[in-house]
Symmetry: C2
Subunit: 246 residues, 2 copies
Amino acid sequence: MPAEEQSFPSVWARPRRRRREQPALSQEQIVSEALQLLDSEGIDALSMRRLGNRLGAVATAVYWHVANKDELIELVIDEIYGEVEVPEVDDPAAWREAAAATARSLRSMILRHPWIVSVLDEVALCYLGPNLMRASDRMLGVFTTAGFDLVEADQAMKSLVAYVLGMAASEAAMLTRLTRSGRTEQEWVESMSATAEEAARPYPRLHALYAADPFSDPERVRVDNFGYGLDRVLDGLEARRAAAKN
Amino acid sequence: MPAEEQSFPSVWARPRRRRREQPALSQEQIVSEALQLLDSEGIDALSMRRLGNRLGAVATAVYWHVANKDELIELVIDEIYGEVEVPEVDDPAAWREAAAATARSLRSMILRHPWIVSVLDEVALCYLGPNLMRASDRMLGVFTTAGFDLVEADQAMKSLVAYVLGMAASEAAMLTRLTRSGRTEQEWVESMSATAEEAARPYPRLHALYAADPFSDPERVRVDNFGYGLDRVLDGLEARRAAAKN
DNA sequence: CAGTCACTCGCACGGTGTACAACTGGCCGG
DNA sequence: CCGGCCAGTTGTACACCGTGCGAGTGACTG
């Protein structure tokens, strides 16, 4: 450890030999530290060197435990998939609330980890991550007990997830940019409104919308918008379910 | 131009003086070249140095015309938003087909430019891009002539777009990885199926799904899945429209 | 006591975005 | 005609990145 030079070198001051039965690094530890880094400082803050330093090691030491940065990110992504809660249901009538709860849980997860939007291209290939598989299996359960056959349950699940992903992703992207600029959501919306209304002048309906909207309580607006679309998607699925039943 | 050293220097061979009335670079040219680079080689191929070289210039010259790489990407994104076609409708009954056509057009655009998934975090902040604004305004038109009031039209639009974005993004991510691996979609699915079925063993419904699915014609499956969810979303919106009318 | 093995470190390579200062050449006012 | 301005381009430089490779290093094993 040449980094920490002893100003008073001595055998006694020298750090005790590290025990080898517990290696300094482990994959879980690395993944967990990477997640912390991502949550607190965003995607740009995650470099192998910084990650190594945080763990009291050097960048290349990390490569013993993960193949490369992409694989590390895949691991972190599956880790946070473990946070989404999917209820197990047996009453067919309970399907809708179960699906809605899942959707809300997924949205919360994304908003808790908004950097996920920057790695969405890797998200789609985590098919085999255990946490994603568990969640998928449970969602399939929700839709099959609702009465859908298996392949339609899969389609229903994919549709719902796509909606949530799309909606939450755009929310998360905005929040990320916001955080980076250091302003609050309210401040940003207010500073934006004049510019937006001006820029929208050539587009009548957009302009009318911006003029009508009081630009207040942006978080509430986001929640309402998410809820609106969620209701429509679930309505559409419910209609299909009712039709298939007869 | 020290890069191209003349092996036979001569006044006559010397390139003619560049006219200054037409500068060598322009923002449109830069954006267009960046788009070509992205489409043909993906996000990793886009570096300021390569882009400069392609235009017969040096990386830093590009910075005269665009503020930085992020801004460049925003410009490219708005450029491709210009490709999505949104019909203008006046017959309220035509709203559904118009919305569906828009959704399909947006999906095609994303699949034509799959690298967009890697920059989704920037996509969400192109609010002021002219092409996006034009498309948004026209979509608002579709929903208002359908009978929605302006703020609900906005919610409906955002919901539809979120669905399409989520669905197409996961498709595009898969296709990107595929292209990178150099295999066809069919080959990939076939090589995947055994592994996937094995990995899904602990998850009964997922395992049953993989076992049932013949893993054939993956593109058709993607199209069907997209259409299924699109129909559900539109059904949900139609139901809401009908209810509001009375 | 030698060797092996799991793990860590140091160094190096070839990239990246972009700040900064120097240059170039056409134009315009004096 | 000429000096200065200024849009546009260049070269250099900095601090960083992911990661391949070889050399330790210490605990355990035969």
